[in-house]
Amino acid sequence: MTRLRAWFLAPTWTAQIALFLAPLAIILGYSLLTRGVYGGITPPWTAESYQRLIDPIYLAILWRSFWVAGASTALCLLLGFPLALFISRAERHKNFYLGLVMLPFWTSFLVRTYAWMFLLRDTGLLNTALQKIGLIHSPLPLLYNDGAVILGLVYGYLPFTVLPLYATLERLDRSLLEAAADLGAKPWTALTRITIPLSAPGIRAGAILVFIPCLGAYLTPDLLGGGKSVMIGNLIQNQFTTARDWPFGSAVSLVLMAIVMVLLFVIARGEGESLL
């Protein structure tokens, strides 16, 4: 088996080394070099980029990214849990319900973000409708703020919580709930004391699947945030374009990756069944 297995794994190893690990190593190198006169990189080797990072403003950007990603993740979990519960309890058509959740995912993420641009602007549907009903008299500034960004992120990543939560809830032993009912527990108590704790693996998986992409989000804050706030993704992109400071951009990228890895270790620790 070993020989066949080696052949089977070889292409992936090649792809991983050439197209993932080597590029990361290059970025690591870049982060330790100096910015070229008008962009690019030159020697000398220096840790200056990392030193620059220890600065209140970048910590503020990091904090903001955490808060936006955290809010989006929390909302995704809150909104996704009841939906996953519903699907896991459905007697028939489970695959249909699941498919219905995944359907928006199969369309373009860009399109889904654009949908909210379309809906939230002053002359967009939401404002026009609210004004027609008479609830408001002048348009609400729904777009170009953190709320719009979080909404866009939640909308984009909600399916990512529903699936793992459903997978865990589906395997839940119903007899536990029956036993609780027999012992006199009210449905709400059964939910909070049994169902939710037992779905911890699903919650963890969903949290990882949403929090990490949201942390490094770039498109959604770009299109829905109005350029008024900076998240890490924007900062990195900015360094490689407008600022032409490749070493600094590389340093920020690697710090972001380090944070992600720490988070994974903390959240996924003790996970018996890993993703792979």
Partner: protein
């Protein structure tokens, strides 16, 4: 219990509406004669504008070619890898794949750009379709591995042992016993890889070259300039297109 069942059902309806209404509204307004949110009559004007725009059609074709090529390669490579890992795990490889999954797109994109620029110092090759396809293959493999491994976990390992006992070699055991069993998973993985590739903006925009502009890049450029019903039309077409693709894949998986 029944009261809670109803409450959950109502919530589910609301959640599904939340998920689907924005896209539905987007599509409805793609038929609006006016470019503003006031309904001014049914019109296919934006669709004809979209289909006549050579930049849009060319980029759509590019996206299609890139997605098909990247899907083909990553599905094959990923399936083989999943099988290899299922037989016996390799912590380094699994770890590397997992890492590539959780790396933020912007980091993957700029690292690939830097990588290509280094390669080009020695190999005089240009940015183009192939650089984009390679980039897409690189991030798709992990998705394929996850889906196929999940499917493999439902396969009974003893079946292959039985085949080996009956005189088959390893390749035959894989090819005639396991592979047919996981084919639905492979198709699902291919669909996922195709979607992820077709949809990608961040990484593609960084490594695309002269003749490899993709549909998301064009959509983004238009969206950057403000709301434009042509984007509504394209979005509706994409939704319908992928809906059809999902249906086809469901049929294939069941066949």
């Amino acid at each position: 219990m029944r009261r809670r069942g109803t409450a959950l059902a109502i919530y589910a309806i609301a959640a599904y509406l939340f998920l689907h209404l924005p896209l539905l509204i987007l599509s409805i307004f793609s038929f609006n004669a006016s470019r503003f949110t006031v309904w001014e009559g049914f019109s296919l004007h934006w669709y004809s504008a979209a289909l006549q725009d050579s930049q849009l059609t060319e980029s759509a074709l590019n996206s299609l070619i890139i997605a098909i090529a990247a899907t083909a390669v990553s599905t094959v490579v990923g399936t083989l890898c999943a099988y290899g890992l299922w037989k016996r795990n390799s912590r380094p490889l699994a770890g590397s794949l997992y890492l590539s999954l959780v790396t933020p797109e912007i980091v993957t994109g700029i690292s690939l750009l830097a990588f290509y620029q280094w390669i080009f110092r020695f190999l005089r090759v240009q940015l183009g379709m192939h650089t984009v396809i390679l980039a897409h293959v690189s991030f798709s493999i992990a998705y394929v591995v996850i889906v196929v491994i999940a499917r493999l976990r439902t396969v009974d390992a003893t079946l292959e042992e039985a085949a080996l006992d009956l005189g088959a070699n390893e390749w035959q055991a894989f090819r005639y016993v396991t592979l047919p069993a996981i084919l639905p998973g492979i198709i699902a993985a291919a669909l996922l890889a195709f979607t992820v590739s077709f949809d990608d903006y961040v990484i593609t925009s960084l490594v695309a070259g002269v003749n490899s502009e993709t549909l998301p890049m064009v959509i983004y450029a238009i969206a950057r300039r403000g709301v434009n019903p042509v984007v509504n039309a394209i979005s509706a077409l994409i939704v319908v297109g992928f809906g059809a693709l999902v249906l086809v894949s469901e049929r294939l998986q069941r066949a």
